[in-house]
Amino acid sequence: QGKFTLLRDTRTDGSFLVHHFLSFYLRAGCKVCFVALLQSFSHYNIVAQKLGVSLAAAKERGQLVFLEGLKSCLDLLFGEEEQPGQPSPLGFLSTSDLRALFDFVRVSLTPVDGDSWKGPVLLVDDLSVLLSLGASPVAMLDFIHYCRVSVCCQLKGNVVVLVHSNEDSEDEENELVVTSLCHHSDLILWAEGLATGFCKDVHGQIKIIKRLSLQQAGEQDLIQIYQYKIQDRNVTFFARGLSAAVL
């Protein structure tokens, strides 16, 4: 409850973690607001069905609020003039102001009478795209801060955000955002490509960092490292060096 989880990937694609959290929270009965900036609704829907959850049904019953970035930007750019009273959540594309996006999140997750969902969850895939669309790093950090205050503290919900990062990245703005978010996260799941290169049986390694140092002074962060292999319907994790191919 009230936790901020950061999903991070380096040299590989960490989106399997997003799919996992999405189906996990929906199955747990939480109300989820999913800000999906990178892929279309049908992509997530198809994968979620493989994982045993129907996004369309969740949307119908009001459990899932889905912001499809790709579709909304088209409506914004090619559609009619927006009503002045209802700024679009993607309004930052012209104004570089993420406030409308935050309002969208807050309104979606504020419980309505008659709601019986356990705990609200905000899921973002992925935050690094906002930089490509013209948002400034400071605005993004402010947005995340507001979301934490609103979702984690006030509503006692969870926030899960995916960012990309690269070693020797030249994208300083991105590195700034990622480093800053790392400092403030309660849990970091870091999916990395293997340092030795591509391997068919081990797709990467995942570092799980529990930020115990945030909770109590003097405590050390707990770091666990596993390797993983992604399959069609699930992901198998194993200790380093113990992949099924080797044993």
Binding site: T12, D171, G204
Partner: protein
């Protein structure tokens, strides 16, 4: 969204671009071609002619026959563990038939070219932006291109908006040399460009348009000219497939005996992971291309064994350099920067 990083002189990426368009014509897809460099009509005249099945089969057949004559092999004595591995297939065999093959030395016949609907966008002939059109501070060239693409998609019903239309077709979009100075964007000439978000915003909206309609798009970009690498990282994130072509022309690799059979390398930086947790990764990451008189082929790069008696320092460094190349992998799975030291 197929994103291609151009090779230095644009020769080979242009070829790849034309292949994409030619395949569209042969499959009966509609085409949309945008360029700021060459008039699209000129591009259309230069498309390669499709090879008839038997002609290609014969070419490949000749090569395969030559290889088969050495087929019987003595059992290996030292490297016997390798005996059981399948024989290295350099090019796709004739049983994997996906797409069509083209003869680079011949041009496509005008009748075949006319058989599909052709939409073109030549930046310098387009009318200026309508006032009041939202651009989101994007470069006006890009904004006009987006508007044009969106108009074609909705008018021709590629987004399923016209329920009357029974036969649904695919739209193939080809955009040449995006990001170059000819489009009015200065990311290729300056370290601190005026607007680093134009290209990425354009790609995001394009991605939205492609997802919403039955279309596929190839873009070539002179990536070697873009000084600001952060842009390339963001662009990779926004594309489904990223392929880089590195030609050996003018580089020291041209005379390197290791590469003498090839004209360049193909770097696959990213492959799509759509509608699934997994992506379709091939066994090998090392691909090279060569342009024969009639065919442009992409094959697995295999280095010949180093059989010289005296392995001098210089060639050892070359090998190390190539080994580094071989160990670099694909972004969707894993990229290793350190090559394995033996």
């Amino acid at each position: 969204l197929v994103f291609t990083e151009e090779d230095k002189y644009g020769l080979y990426s242009n070829l790849l671009f034309k292949y994409f368009l030619a395949e569209g014509i042969v499959c009966g897809h509609d085409l949309f071609v945008a360029s700021a460099k060459e008039h699209p009509d000129n591009i259309r005249k230069e498309l390669p002619a499709p090879l008839l099945d038997d002609a290609y089969g014969k070419e490949l057949g000749d090569e395969a026959a030559a290889a088969k004559s050495e087929d019987f092999q003595d059992s290996m004595k030292i490297a016997w563990r390798y005996q059981n591995l399948p024989k290295m297939e350099a090019s796709p065999t004739t049983h994997t038939k996906f797409g069509h093959y083209y003869d680079v030395s011949k041009k496509m016949s005008p009748e075949l070219c006319q058989s599909v609907k052709w939409h073109s966008f030549y930046l310098h002939e387009e009318l200026s932006l309508e006032p009041g059109m939202k651009t989101w501070n994007m470069n006006s060239g890009y904004a006009r291109l987006l508007q044009s693409i969106q108009r074609i998609i909705s008018q021709e019903g590629f987004d399923g908006s016209d329920p009357q239309k029974k036969q649904r077709n695919v739209l193939r979009i080809g955009i040449q040399s995006l990001g170059s100075i000819l489009w009015g964007d200065d990311i290729c000439c300056s370290d601190t460009p005026e607007d680093i978000h134009s290209l990425t915003k354009f790609l995001y909206v394009l991605r939205g348009l492609l997802r919403k309609s039955l279309s596929a798009c190839i873009i070539t970009v002179p990536a070697h000219l873009i000084q600001n690498k952060a842009i390339m990282e963001r662009v990779t994130n926004l594309s489904d497939v990223v392929v880089g072509l590195e030609s050996f022309i003018g580089s020291e690799r041209e005379t390197n005996p290791l590469y003498k059979d090839y004209h360049g390398l193909v770097h696959v930086h990213q492959i799509p992971r759509l509608n699934s947790l997994i992506c379709d990764v091939s066994d090998t990451k090392d691909l090279a291309f060569r342009l024969k008189r009639k065919l442009f082929t992409i094959e697995r790069l295999h280095l010949p064994p180093d059989l010289s008696d005296t392995v001098s320092r210089a060639s050892k460094q070359d090998l190390a350099g190539s080994a580094k190349l071989l160990s670099s992998g694909c972004g969707a799975m894993a990229i290793g920067k350190k090559h394995l030291d033996f």
